[in-house]
Assembly symmetry: C2
Homo-oligomer: 307 residues x 2
Amino acid sequence: MAAQVEATPNDAAALEAFFEKAGGWPAAQHKVDALATFAQQALEANAKVALVTSGGTTAPLERRTVRYVDNFSTGNRGAALAEHLASKGQTPAFDATGYRVVYLHRSTAAFPFTRHVHDALRADPAGTLQRLAEGPYCAKSFAALQDSKRFLAVPFDTIGEYLGLLRACCTALEPLGGNVLVVLAAAVSDFYVPDLCEHKIQSRSGGGLSLEFAPVPKCLGYVKRWGSPQFCVCGFKLETDEQLLKKKAMASLANYGLDCVVANMLATYRERATVYTASEGVVVAGDDVDARLAEELMRVHAARGVS
Amino acid sequence: MAAQVEATPNDAAALEAFFEKAGGWPAAQHKVDALATFAQQALEANAKVALVTSGGTTAPLERRTVRYVDNFSTGNRGAALAEHLASKGQTPAFDATGYRVVYLHRSTAAFPFTRHVHDALRADPAGTLQRLAEGPYCAKSFAALQDSKRFLAVPFDTIGEYLGLLRACCTALEPLGGNVLVVLAAAVSDFYVPDLCEHKIQSRSGGGLSLEFAPVPKCLGYVKRWGSPQFCVCGFKLETDEQLLKKKAMASLANYGLDCVVANMLATYRERATVYTASEGVVVAGDDVDARLAEELMRVHAARGVS
């Protein structure tokens, strides 16, 4: 039954064909190098590492891209989780060394710690500029951002870049094994255009446009194979039907070997989420839902390490 | 010949059909009210007004939108022109009352005056937060933003919202006649999906997706009809072929009754542009290309008023 709700095309050939069409793999060498350095330093410190993905991926319609299909995603949840994992992971309950964070994010997505300034500048440009000019504005801690050993930002735009860099992140973090928590909060394209036009599609008087999209291979099942079976991997589901939501969340756990799934209803995702593991469903809610969600993910990670 | 390069479907029925499918018109009443107040105050002050459009429009694929086709556009040029028109339009050479600015912009596009802080936060998050925390950061003038009589921001996302709000802006500014400069720097969708799915398109294992796009009616020719024939209207062209660029720019002037067209080559648009009028082509170039472009547009506007 579960398999009917969501199929598991863990098809390596389909994935290679995707990368051949969409690009993104192998990832750029300077990013691979930065990830290797980050992973080596975390390994030497025996630190926990959270890989957090955030924002929407694009599916270009042209090779020299002017137009693309986009997913609506602000990246706020991923940015908030990255903040809490980077700044609160140092509580004695978890590990004195705390979480180091790789933030794999859409280039335009919300960014941890700076998003509050961005939001304020959007909501009240003149007033915020005034306050910035007048003096101290940023009371929040941003120590995590200042140390490249503790926080690494890896930006993407297209679905190809995203999957290629996710693979590069998993490969680089493989030696850290059970110390790695993967938080897959990005909104990943389901469809892409395999055969792109070379140049900008010309608009012609009266003429329409017909586009054929192909499905993007489901990659949740690859995270532990690209990295380590010891990784603690957390997926995300967003639906409008509560019954379908639980079914899909449980199917994801089973089909992709995830450790937990954060299930969100479109209408309430800002203030409420359910974290499903194989054995339970824990509701987190309230104004500080992102902080509570981060704590819950750390708990799932810690519990997995124990078992 | 020109008409073959770019046709002029100034077809009122097609436009009404578009608004019926894509929404956006009539525009939201509170925005219409804000525009009416702004226009009335400008009229009483006998002020020049620049209507600047900026950023890309989206074409949704679903009625409850999760996915959409987007155009690549940062909105930087529109934001820079709005800045220069709002802050430099007060030079005696043009008019002691200066330009008041309506900034019709994609909700996520670059924003005048605050974009420098946004850019700095993206380029160097930790360093910028540090400098913001340490004290004075914003040396630039932002007096223009502080006075709602002088600067009105009108955000859009979809192509329907954009065209509906452009129409509302032109209607509201009609009484100002020759005092209005319209700078159409937005990157407008050429195609949209007329018949949207009600819910999120479900991804299915192995299944692709086929979408039919219809052309968006060309609206350059409506700006003066929605507003006033006395408006000074400036269009934008971006191409990769220099010969085609000039042809298309001259065709736009003729077909849509524009006063000037800013012609950009994709490879050099950040440092160089040509402003075509019926009688000449003026090249503006250099590090301060946006400031020079603003001066040139003000010159075209002033010259039109004289003739």
